[in-house]
Amino acid sequence: MTANIVNNVPSEIKVALKQEILEVSIAGDWVLDADTPSLEPVLAQLTKEGVQQLVFSTKTLGRWDSLLMTDLIRLIDLGKNQNIQVDTSTLPEGIQGLLSLVSAVPERVGARRKEIKIPWLETMGNGVLHFVKETHDLIVFIGETALSFAALTRGKARFRWVDLWMNIQSCGPSALPIITLISLLVGLILAFVGSVQLALFGAQIYIADLVGLGMTREMGGLMAAIIMSGRTGAAYAAQLGTMQVNSEIDALKTMGFQPMEFLVLPRILALILVMPLLCIYADLMGMVGGSLVTVAFFDVSLVEYLHRTAGAVHLTDLMIGISKCAVFGILIALSGCMRGMQCGRSASAVGDAATSAVVTGIVFIVMADSLMTVICNRLGI
C-alpha cells in the first residue's frame, strides 16, 4: 500500500472479424494514468459494411476504471448507431452494472444546450434593454428608499437602533486610519504640485490658499468618498448579497420585516451621518499635509501658513465640500445596498455584487461631483 506506484500492464486492443461478428479483445490495464491505444482502428472496423454483431473478449483485462468505460460506451454507441447487435454479456459484471446504470436515466429531451449565435444587432438591442431595466431598477430602489425614509420620519420604520450604531462604528471611527493616511498624502501632493509654479513667482505663501481651498471644496470630500466606496460600499453589497444567498432576507420578509427598512435604512442613514464628519476630518488632515511641506521646504512659518489658510478658506467653501460629501454618502450607500439586494444566489454573484457596487459608486460620485462643481461655478459660490 505504501508504494502507490503500480506498474501498469501495457494495454492492448485487438479486432477480429469472423463471419460478420466483430470481436474486440481488450487486454492489460485500462486506467486513467496508463497509455491506452487509440480506438480509431476499431471504430473504422465498426463502420465497415458487413458487420452484424459486436462482441467483447476481456479474458486478459487487468485493472480498469472510467477510461475503459468511456471507450466501451463510445464503441457501443457507434455500434448501435450502425444497427449492429451489441453483446455485452461477456464483459465483467461490474462493467455491465455500470453500463446499465449509465443508460438507466435517458437524456432528458431538450436538456442539452446548443450554442446559439447572436447577431450584433440583437446584442446591441439587448444592451439597450438591459440599460433600461437597470435604470428602472435604480429608480424603483430610490423610490423604495424614499418611502422607508418617509416611514422613518413618521416614526414607523422598523429597524434595530443597535444596527445603526454598529454601522456608524464600522463606517466612521474604523475608517479613520485609512482616511488619515490618504488625506495627509493628498494634501502633501497638492502642496508640492502647487509649489512648482508658485515658487517661480516667489509666492510660496499661496500654497496655503491652494491646499486649503483644494481640500475643502474638492479633494477632501472626493477622497473620503472614494475610500468609503471601496471600503463600505463593497462591504454593504457583500453583506446583503450573502444574506440573500443564505435566504436571510427571505426570512426577514416572512417575519414581517421590510428589508428596505430593516437592512438598507440603517446602512444609508449611517453613511449620511458619518460622511460629512469624515469630510471635515479629511480636510483638516489635508491641510496638515500641506503645512508640513510648506514649513519644511519653503521659507514659510507655521503661523504664517495657518493665518493665510484662515484668510483664504471661508465657511462657504467648507459647507460646499461637506454638502457634496453628504451627497456622495447617499450615492455610495445606495449603490452598495442596491447591488447587495439585487445579488444572485451564488458565491460568484456576491463577488459580482461587490465589484459592481464599487464601480457604480465611483461613477456616481464623479458624475455628481462634476455636476455640483458646474452648478457652484454658475451660481458664483
Binding site: 500500500m1 486513467l32 442539452r112 460568484s348
Partner: protein, 264 residues
C-alpha cells in the same frame, strides 16, 4: 471481504480544549457501506472532517490501509486523499463553473488526459448519476437533488477507492433519497468502492448500511458499532434503541417525567 480499508485508532477530537469525542476505535473494511450515526451535535460531521484530512485529531490517528494519515507529510497526505472522493452536504459545487467544468477540474489537475478524453469521462460520470446532457448547466440552474448528484459525479471523478458522504439524503424527497441510496449501492457493487456515510436517515441506514458506529454526545464516545440491523435486534443500550426506532418503541425509565408533563 474483510481487508481493513480505514482504521481509526484511539482518536480524540476536540476544538481547542472542548472535547467532541474521545477514544474512537473502529475499522472500516473494504466494500463496506459504513454509517456514522448519532444525534445532532454529537460530532458526526467533525469525525468525517478528521477522516478526509480537513481537521487534525487532538490524539490518535487515522490509517488508510497501513498508512497513517496524520503522521504523513503534506505530499503523502495529498497522495492518500487522492484515493478518496467526498460528497458534501449541499454538493459544494463551485458556483462559477458549469457541471462539466466542476467534474473536469480534478481530472485535469491529477491526470495527463487530453481534452477530448476528459469530455468523455465527464459525460460518462454525469450519465452515471442520471444527469446526461446537463454538462453546460451552472449549479444554480438545477435543483437541490440534481446538485447533490452532480456533487457525487465530481466526488467520483478520479475513480476513488473510498467515497465519503455527508448526509447524502438530507433535503431530498423520499423517492429521490431512495434513488440516491440505490445509486450508492450499485456504485459500491460495480466499482468495488468503500462507502463511508454520515446520516441519520433511518430508512437509508437500514437499507444499505453494512456496518456502523454510534456516537453519543453525552458520554462523548462511541457506544455501539456493528451492522445497523443487528444493532436494532441485539443492542441493549436504550439510547441506541431509541435512535434506531425514532424513540417510538419504549420510553426508558429515566424519562418518566415525560409522561408527567404529557399525560396520555
Amino acid at each position: 471481504m474483510t481487508t481493513p480499508c480505514l482504521t481509526i485508532k484511539n482518536m480524540t477530537m476536540a476544538y481547542g480544549r472542548f472535547i467532541i469525542q474521545r477514544d474512537l476505535d473502529f475499522t472500516i473494511n473494504q466494500g463496506d457501506i459504513f454509517i456514522i450515526m448519532g444525534g445532532s451535535g454529537c460530532g458526526k460531521s467533525t469525525l468525517l472532517m478528521h477522516l478526509i484530512g480537513l481537521q487534525r485529531p487532538a490524539k490518535g490517528d487515522v490509517f488508510y490501509g497501513e498508512e497513517s494519515l496524520w503522521q504523513a507529510d503534506d505530499q503523502a497526505r495529498n497522495r492518500i486523499l487522492k484515493r478518496t472522493g467526498v460528497l458534501f452536504q449541499s454538493g459544494a459545487l463551485l458556483s462559477s463553473m458549469t457541471l462539466a467544468e466542476n467534474i473536469a477540474l480534478p481530472i485535469t489537475e491529477h491526470t495527463k488526459l487530453g481534452a477530448e478524453r476528459i469530455r468523455r469521462i465527464v459525460s460518462y460520470k454525469l450519465a452515471l448519476v442520471g444527469l446526461a446532457g446537463f454538462e453546460d448547466y451552472y449549479p444554480s440552474e438545477i435543483s437541490g437533488g440534481m446538485q447533490k448528484r452532480a456533487g457525487l459525479a465530481r466526488a467520483m471523478a478520479l475513480d476513488p477507492e473510498i467515497l465519503f458522504f455527508d448526509e447524502p439524503s438530507a433535503g431530498l424527497d423520499p423517492i429521490s433519497a431512495k434513488l440516491l441510496d440505490d445509486l450508492i449501492l450499485s456504485l459500491r457493487d460495480n466499482l468495488g468502492a468503500t462507502v463511508v456515510m454520515v446520516t441519520h436517515e433511518l430508512a437509508s441506514i437500514f437499507a444499505i448500511g453494512t456496518n456502523s458506529v454510534f456516537l453519543d454526545p453525552e458520554t462523548k464516545t462511541m457506544i455501539a458499532s456493528g451492522a445497523p440491523k443487528k444493532l436494532l435486534a441485539e443492542s441493549t443500550d436504550p439510547k441506541v434503541i431509541r435512535f434506531l426506532t425514532r424513540g417510538e418503541t419504549q420510553i426508558p425509565e429515566n424519562n418518566t417525567h415525560y409522561l408527567d408533563r404529557h399525560p396520555l
